[in-house]
Symmetry: C2
Subunit: 189 residues, 2 copies
């Protein structure tokens, strides 16, 4: 239900191609909504069929033609309607295969688990660094003063920070617990 609205939201700031949209969902937006390229193209097809967006083909030289999508009036209407629903229950439906594995890990290999946790912590630190880069690129201080969008950008970004920081803290604490176990005696596997 929401990739649709993610696309409409982006197009509300100006026309974009499927390629550009897809890149955004895989880079600067990936900490709040991730999507596959093939999914974006399919969704754009549906949106156009339903009249929420229109498309124009832009010829290019030396590169493949672009197909640029623009939001329609009914698209804006649909976006605003969705926006004001503000329910959050769906976003709390967790599906975390990594934690699920750990839950069953008495049957697993504890060395593998430790190195996975280490990589997990490092990766979350990398993600935190990416958020800093995004902030520097899209949210210079002068923009925060001038544009009302920028504040909501910043708030969303903070959500990513809280999440990844929590992951780092949990991972680090867990590693400590597992190390103590090893030194303390009883070893599984």
């Amino acid at each position: 239900m929401s990739l649709k609205h993610g696309i409409l939201g982006l197009l509300a700031n100006g026309p974009m191609t499927g390629y550009e949209l897809s890149n955004d969902f895989n880079t600067s937006l990936s900490f709040m909504w991730h999507a596959q390229q093939s999914q974006v193209y399919r969704e754009l097809g549906d949106l156009e069929k339903n009249g929420y967006v229109t498309s124009t083909i832009i010829p290019q030289e030396g590169k493949p033609n672009k197909k640029q999508y623009a939001i329609s009036d009914s698209g804006v209407q649909e976006l605003v309607h969705w926006l004001n629903e503000y329910h959050f229950q769906d976003s709390l439906k967790v599906r975390d295969a990594f934690v699920l594995r750990i839950f069953f890990s008495a049957r697993g290999n504890s060395d593998k688990l430790k190195s996975a946790l280490h990589a997990y912590v490092e990766w979350n630190k990398t993600l935190l660094g990416q958020l800093d880069a995004i902030e520097q690129q899209y949210l210079p201080p002068e923009r925060l003063q001038a544009e009302s969008d920028a504040l909501y950008w910043l708030i969303s970004l903070k959500k990513g920070r809280y999440t990844f920081r929590a992951n780092v803290e949990w991972g680090t604490e867990t590693l400590t617990i597992l190390e103590q176990l090893n030194h303390g005696g009883t070893q599984h596997e």
Copy 2:
């Protein structure tokens, strides 16, 4: 891919019915893996078709018959194989419609947003309380000493705590930011 292994993991501790499995995924396990009842029944059908589980019908009086599933040898094998993969990339693919909405909220109604955030914070506090209840019910101190499973239970539970706590902190900070905005002057909508 992982509901399958979640079911196998639970069945590794003893036989269960679809109804019981489904309840677990909607209550005590929901902070790490959430699943619909209909999904559990479908998955059990597939697992049985592939020989990972076997079923026995247990007649009951005054209640509908139970269909109890037990894990097979190849099921255990499949579980252990999955367990030792330990990759975490999937669990970091975010899809958070609430944050996405906020990202576009310059076009939305800020009073609605504030009350939604308030509810979000309260709900996350409720979830934290549920984790405490789960810990008290399943993880009394004596069990942590005695059973090696219990440690991994606890670690998974901590993940839920970190996550929901981060949500509370982010929501609270965001509310403060939005309040200041209102008092400071410029109002959207």
